[in-house]
Amino acid sequence: MKTDRLLPYFLILPTIIYLLIFVFAPLSKAVGLAFLTDEGRFTLGYFERMFSDGRFLEALKYTFLLTITIVPLQLITALLIALLINTRFKGSQLFLYICALPLGIADLAAGLILLSIFTQHGHLNSILYHLGFIEKPFYFISYQHMGFVFLSIVLAEHWRATAIVLVILVAGLQMISKDLLEAADVLGAKPWQKLWHVILPLLKPSLQSALIIRTIFALQMFAVVLALGGEIIPVLAGEAYFWYYIYRNNHISAAYALLLMVISILMTWIYLRFLRTRSEMRA
């Protein structure tokens, strides 16, 4: 009897040990760095320094701007493609694989690929030049054209990270019973009514997962921004990096990291709260 009760805890022990070593230990270290001076005294000084930094508000602004631009865009694109794939047209499987291909591309690589298009002597400039639209290269990536930089980051992220949303949504759509969709048909629902009243509500758990995953990763966006914008567009994760490697201040770097974590937790809580599926509503 006793072993029966202890067995589950024994089975999760490896996970707990893993989490303690690789998650909890670094996390407490980061908390320590953010709140304790080198002498070990408690201080809010690092946070004050972070908040008063000239680039802080810009970084916060761009992190949120990028997130609220990219995530909804990805969700809509992925939903449209997923619905298309779910019609099971001939070759839909192949189409899914092709769409999922960017999953295998590292974010830094994605940023560099886009950079090779938009940079001064990149593909876009050479095409425009050969077509006779421009006389000399156009500086897409520069302080003068923040809009282009922003757009190229959105484009890179959209291209690179929509696939994960797509895969989640395709899996979610496939879990919806065909009978329910046919029932909607015979009960007189038009296609968009079916989408709104049947498909989307039943897809809610998948949408929720996709939103949480994508939002957290969008908030932590870094390599793509760095590759395309350098320091032109500051983001929170980028600031954490710069403070650590360039300014050599790991306290303020930790403060940025903690702030990001708090925002991520908050967003996840909001999604869980507002997209909640009541247990009795599950199939």
Binding site: S177, E182, V186, H197, R278, S279, E280
Partner: protein, 361 residues
């Protein structure tokens, strides 16, 4: 309100396999028609073609005289109950029932009234605020039926609606469906593989095999006068018995014993003297005599099974096996040799090769 449905030469195949072959069928206004057949006979495909969930390859479908062949389901004035019930898990019972009306933008007050009315009809008015996960299989079934009839469809299609219920509940729902049909008067097309369900529910039964209709008629006619060997063997518990018989000058002979047949057959049988035919007779139309009379067909008892209200005997006649029902109190032992007499009006003859019924009238 109820509609007539007409299928003309409807053909449907899936990847080279023909599911429905050149089917013609007319379902009358307000009729309860059962499509009956073994699994894979194409009965569900026919239903789905009528619903508009499948496109036909060939042929036309008319509902109330209107050609709906190329219409989507929503425009066909039909409704359907699925085998899996397919109630929406994210909606309450009331929302489920009102779904069809909501899709048609009926005013809220009217929906509420209509939902309440059908919920009362199906005795689920106390469950309106529950979610499907909180309901039993039988209750979900009622929700599915309520949801299908609330839109007052001209045709109600039902695809094996009772097959997921336990035996007792199935018996009760069967009677309820029959009552419901009397009350709402809609044309119903009902698919099942359960012949008892078909016999008890249908105004008429269409028996299907390999994508074709073998026979369409009232339950009594189908039971008493099956069109071929398949129908006789598929319908009835136990199924119809088949015995090899030889046509003689004055009737039939089975293993040298004369069998009396209706007089009006005489003319028809004349041309067949010497031919071997299959004699079909149902278990309850064979009389058993524990002491065989002289010149009477005899059989050996293999098993006797008491069934409560009756007794089921398995008998051997030559190389044919017979099922016979008798009074429960008749004392019969295995290995006993008994005499048999057949009710002559209930005898049916079939061609030995084609299995088709031989008609002499």
């Amino acid at each position: 309100m109820a509609a007539e449905i007409r299928l003309e030469g409807v053909t449907k195949s899936f990847g080279g396999i023909i599911a429905v072959k050149e089917m013609n069928l007319t379902v009358n206004k307000g009729e309860f028609l059962v499509l009956l057949g073994p699994s894979g006979c194409g009965k569900t495909t026919v239903l789905r073609c009528i619903a508009g969930l499948e496109r036909v390859d060939k042929g036309r479908i008319y509902i109330s005289g209107r050609d709906v062949t190329d219409f989507p389901p929503a425009k066909r004035a039909i409704s359907m109950v699925f085998q899996s019930y397919a109630v929406f898990p994210h909606m309450t019972v009331a929302q489920n029932i009102g779904f069809g009306l909501r899709m048609r933008h009926i005013p809220k007050m009217e929906i509420e009234r209509a939902v309440k009315e059908v919920a009362e009809l199906l005795k689920i008015d106390d469950l309106l605020n529950r979610y499907p996960a909180q309901l039993s299989g039988g209750q979900r079934q009622r929700v599915a039926v309520a949801r299908a009839i609330v839109t007052r469809p001209a045709v109600l299609l039902m695809d094996e609606p009772l097959s997921n219920l336990d035996a007792l509940l199935r018996l009760r729902m069967r009677a309820e469906l029959k009552r419901l049909h009397h009350e709402i008067g809609t044309t119903i097309i009902y698919v099942t593989h359960d012949q008892i369900e078909a016999l008890s529910l249908g105004d008429r039964i269409a028996v299907m095999l390999n994508g074709e209709i073998v026979q369409v008629n009232t339950p009594t006619q189908i039971y008493d006068r099956p069109a071929d060997r398949f129908v006789g063997g598929f319908i009835g518990t136990p199924p119809m018995n088949f015995l090899k018989a030889t046509v003689a000058a004055d009737g039939l002979m089975i293993r040298g014993f004369p069998i009396t047949v209706p007089e009006e057959w005489g003319k028809g049988l004349k041309g067949m003297i010497g031919k071997v035919v299959l004699l079909g007779i149902r278990a309850e139309n064979i009389m058993v005599h524990p002491e065989p009379k002289k010149g009477e067909l005899t059989a050996e008892v293999i098993v006797s099974e008491p069934m409560g209200s009756q007794q089921l005997l398995t008998l051997q006649v030559g190389d044919d096996v017979l099922k016979v029902t008798t009074r429960p109190d008749l004392r019969i032992q295995p290995k006993q040799v008994i005499g048999l007499s057949l009710t002559k009006d209930k005898i049916r003859l079939f061609d030995k090769e084609t299995g088709k019924a031989l008609m002499f009238d």
